[in-house]
Symmetry: C2
Subunit: 405 residues, 2 copies
Amino acid sequence: MAVGELVLPEFNPVAGLRIGTASAGIKKPGRKDLVVFELAAGSTTAGIFTLNAFCAAPVQLCKEHLQQGSPRYLVINTGNANAGTGVAGLDNARKTCQVLADLAGVKSTEVLPFSTGVIGEPLPMDRLLAALPQALEQLTNNGWADAASGIMTTDTKPKGATASCEINGQHVVISGIAKGAGMIKPNMATMLGFIATDATIDSVLLKELLKQAADVSFNRITIDGDTSTNDSCMLVATGQSAKISVEDTAALQSFTACLQQVMQHLALSIVRDGEGATKFVTVQVEQAATTAEALEAAFTVAHSPLVKTALYASDANWGRILAAVGRAPGLESLDVSSVTVYLDDVLLVEQGGRAASYTEDAGSAVMQQTEITLRILLGRGKATETVWTCDFSHDYVTINADYRT
Amino acid sequence: MAVGELVLPEFNPVAGLRIGTASAGIKKPGRKDLVVFELAAGSTTAGIFTLNAFCAAPVQLCKEHLQQGSPRYLVINTGNANAGTGVAGLDNARKTCQVLADLAGVKSTEVLPFSTGVIGEPLPMDRLLAALPQALEQLTNNGWADAASGIMTTDTKPKGATASCEINGQHVVISGIAKGAGMIKPNMATMLGFIATDATIDSVLLKELLKQAADVSFNRITIDGDTSTNDSCMLVATGQSAKISVEDTAALQSFTACLQQVMQHLALSIVRDGEGATKFVTVQVEQAATTAEALEAAFTVAHSPLVKTALYASDANWGRILAAVGRAPGLESLDVSSVTVYLDDVLLVEQGGRAASYTEDAGSAVMQQTEITLRILLGRGKATETVWTCDFSHDYVTINADYRT
């Protein structure tokens, strides 16, 4: 059960991009689990990937192929992560690219592979390869919705976002999908995110725009603190509409705002659909000495099992919040008496202790909500950072005691 | 339900030390919740305390009083942590010391206060002070067992350890108690630990011995990664038996071994009684480049919600173990293909992937046990470190969604 409305938008189709979804029966027969993106010649593509040392075979191959030129196809399977699979896993990823390239008449280095699902199992290559022709046949100008379902694992809802803006008299669209519900503490990108625009952007700028937008979206969310082995986030620019360049500041700002809107929507959708989530929580740390300190405090609170179980219980347990802030790396010198905490607009903690004006009724009213903002003011400086997370419920344990990642 | 046998030992009484336990009705009427230690004149005392910036009022006062001389009394209440209570909390801790000092005929700076329980509630001073005479009346030469119960919070079992050794022809004893089940990732010491010996040890050496022993016991355990606001660990030497000094290496080694045995037993008892624990897990990281790296890897695995829920489910989910190792701070450059993992004696992972010899039956047999050792060989060097933890169950969520820390 996701927190809040998670309804797919009416996607803006992106000129120069077609998407096809098929059923390979990788983990379960019948479900859509194979997605192919086709990129028009002249498209530019940027990617950011997990910083986990145990990065999966497809992640390794994506990085390798991206260095060799502009991709024409992306191929994504769910049900199997092809991670921890050694040399054989890398061979399987290469083979997938080669077979798709032969079918489509491109070079194998022009194909990027992505996988998500169980770690450590060999890819069922016969079923995967057999479904590639079907995925190509299904290529369509607006296949986003099917693809959003086709990349899910423990997600309960497909996730997508779409936006558009006018740039120098031209209509520019951005659409994207993402998946992820557990093993979510992205470090560079989320489990899988695919965003495309019809704008014209050179690959150096595209990478920079992706990185900036990821830093205020996917890199600011956490479900369980466990960084995945397969995190990948791709941004494609098909070059069919307005040109975005560093020199045209107004165009750059319009596009950046639009891109951040799409990527934040996708990132927040992942948190709303966090494994077992019953609450969507914004943790905003203000008055920190540095950005790094604000982030450490926010993530320490967002990862604390005691804070997360209190949120699940709708318990305004400010002692656990303060205890988490107090153990955040770099905050050893924190002056407790300068700390203030708000639950939405309710003043909960002042001068490091319960606020005189605070009543359990007022706190309880906020805690009963499914969406809560925790504002923590450190009284040390001017930096503010926000991260988004969810609570920790019985269902999180049930899901992860049953599911083999 | 604790994992394994948690039975209090037959405590060796420590000459020069008396303990009294009383009922103040701090949180619930009738239960023993107030403990007083009386230390003979000439005793030395060392203490180590939480590094959480939000340290509780009694922790602040303990540090202050320890600098002013040798304590003669320790007073401990459970049911209320006197943390996050501001100036009033500090006044209450001072008042407690003053009243006990007046009753006992010592200076208030010769009393050290300790509190554990709910954060952010004012201490019920009338009930606490009223019970102090009763605690003094109960002072007895071997009051360890009652005290072990009298300091519990969410603990399901009291925890104690005792040992003795011969030093230069003299019989030396060490006894100790500890409490803690949640908010456990000690950083200097555990929630509350009290250890006493009849040996004669100057206060500088005593502090050093305590710190060394804590580093291989309380500082190597974690339940939920949440460092408490009240962690305190005290070591008292009453000076009634053999002298331990740096110059007498043989005596120092005998005593150190004995002290580590007692403190490790206490620390491991806390893990066995971890909130909701169904499994006791030893995480041993070998072949690390440095001690720091070994500890980061071990704690990252021990804190991973995905690893902990897999342990709960008896699922030999090596992908989650590798994913946790791969995101440990400082291990970005890890060469995955050099990593080996054992489940007890079963080879689970070799060269970064599932071992050829591994069978689900063999792994499953180990995972069904209530005590499991995870050995993770990084192939980067010679450092080895061990931490102890427990799994993450439905009961952890139930306990922490119901209990206000």
